[in-house]
């Protein structure tokens, strides 16, 4: 299967487009932002639906509380800020006022992970998936390109319950197509293969597809699965795959503690123990640099995936 880059675009713009479309199609959708309208690409929604937008200022705790309150009466609030300020900064507000209270808030988080780049580690959260997936009832989604982020934004409005929607800053290949579909909780088999399973989320999905091409030249037939919904995890698609390939690499822009790989390893150990490797940051903070420099340095690129696959081959 050949995936074509339809042109580089940032995932956050997919969110902005999705939000704008929701403005038209769902009167209950409202948006909140903590002084990052431009970064979150919310301006189109604001221009068209100014009464349904709330500029909160640099006060993320208040934003989460206001979002929780807006749901009382049936509004569907979408909060927008960086991933770091969407999670770690406001964990207790999300925990009590949103998750425990079962509020229908969509926490939309841009600039996740290392690819935020030059701003450095204060802004590059690599722990957010773990924080959010541990909250009972929270759905956790990490999208891989513009199209998928737009689809996810539309889908979470239809889902009842709190959602953490994670996306990023840089322009990356936009390659997913409508026919792949987007269903919360359902993984996507991007490329069938028989020798190794690569399960990727977010920006690592494109890298995995590129790695698969290189591996083909070495006669390694990799199966590529895109997991966009980290919680609830699509156990079935993963187990079906490893029963065929007998080994798995997980790939994500997140700490290996608390990330997608950890969730996968739980179901592997429980259901079908087999060799597994992790593409993830190794319990470290990030640093300043360009996105591609950082992804290379921290082992989150095509080359790193190939290396891990070769290690796995010897472990099988």
């Amino acid at each position: 299967m050949n995936y074509i880059n339809q042109g580089n675009k940032d995932t956050r713009s997919g969110f902005g487009e999705g939000l704008y479309e929701l403005g038209k199609t769902n009167q209950n959708v409202v948006a909140l932002c903590a002084d990052l309208v431009g970064s979150l690409k919310m301006q189109k929604f604001i221009d068209e639906y100014p009464n349904r937008f709330f500029q909160i200022g640099i006060a993320e705790a208040n934003m989460m509380g206001i979002a929780a309150g807006l749901t009382i009466g049936g509004k569907i609030p979408f909060t927008g800020t960086f991933a770091n300020f969407s999670t770690g900064r406001v964990y207790d507000q999300i925990r009590q006022s949103i998750a425990y209270s079962g509020k229908n808030v969509k926490i939309c988080a841009s600039h996740a992970g290392l690819t935020l780049g030059e701003d450095g580690a204060t802004h590059q959260i690599l722990e957010d998936i773990g924080l959010m997936k541990m909250l009972p009832g929270m759905t956790v989604i990490n999208t891989c390109d513009f199209n998928q982020t737009k689809s996810a934004t539309l889908a979470v409005a239809e889902h009842k319950g709190p959602v953490y929607l994670r996306f990023g800053r840089p322009s990356v290949p936009n390659f997913t197509t409508d026919d792949l579909g987007f269903k919360i909780g359902k993984g996507i088999l991007l490329k069938p293969g028989k020798d190794v399973t690569i399960v990727a989320t977010g920006h690592l999905v494109w890298e995995s597809l590129q790695a698969a091409k290189e591996l083909e030249k070495q006669n390694i037939d990799a199966e590529i699965i895109n997991i966009h919904t980290i919680k609830p995890l699509d156990d079935e698609i993963i187990l079906e795959s490893v029963k065929k390939t007998g080994c798995l690499v997980s790939a994500e822009e997140h700490n290996y503690l608390g990330g997608l790989g950890e969730s996968i390893s739980r179901i592997i150990v429980k259901n079908y123990p087999c060799p597994m490797e992790f593409i993830a940051t190794e319990d470290t903070f990030g640093e300043s640099g360009t996105p591609s420099q950082l992804m290379k340095k921290y082992g989150l690129d095509k080359e790193a995936i190939i290396r891990k696959v070769l290690i796995l081959k010897n472990r099988k």
């Binding site: 709330f54 006060a59 208040n62 934003m63 807006l70 006022s97 079962g102 509020k103």
Partner: protein, 281 residues
Amino acid sequence: MPDLKLLEKTTIQVRRDILRMVHKVNSGHPGGSLGCAEFFVSLFFDQLEFTLPFKIDGKNEDIFFLSNGHISPVFYSVLARRGFFPIEELNTFRLINSRLQGHPTTHEGLPGIRVASGSLGQGLSVAIGSALTKKLDKDSKTVFVLMGDGELQEGQNWEAIMYAAANKVDNLIATIDLNGRQIDGNTDDVLDLGDLNNKFISFGWEVIELNDGNSINEVINKIKIAKTKLGYGKPIVILMKTEMGNGVDFMMNTHAWHGKAPNNEQLKIALSQNKETIGDY
């Protein structure tokens, strides 16, 4: 005019409920609960506009949030006495499998609760969100929230106080329970709140002082005054002075009963100072 006599009787019964609830499980927060009994009775039996059965969305009704969730005993007692759920359920306070959790929650579906509280400083933000929904829906009813004074030490409140004024959230009446005490002592000693009246004024709020929050008459009058200020572009706060532990002599003038239950002997004395009026649960 409300039947003040009946409200007084109800308040005394609510005090008995509070004391018996915390005594039974040897835990909970009687001090602040007793101090706010008059406020809750005035609000739920006279001032709030709503219908039963409880509907969590609260459309076209007044909505109340409790931010300082630890005073759940008074909240639960008044909700039960007002008909939100059977008063016998007060027997289950803080017990396993109960809807009456230590701190209020929506999780078990207890009628009357619209958001969990307990971790302090979050209720005002939620109330603002709820008030914004009412404005969007052109719902003319009011959102009320009660907060503790010690709770104002949480920074989120000041984000919310700034936001509500800047955005003219004028369908909101916040009340601060100024009992001057918190777990570790007097608020003045733990972290002085300073001149709250002027702080709220300078943040752009309409301030109403309620000097005796343990007088039902005065509570009702001040809530009525607050209501006349709705819709004029400013959020409203009632600074309500209360006595922690009110109605039980040995629980007053001290912070000691913030989060401590009376023993058998103490319960007996406390109940003798608050004789049964409309019937124990």
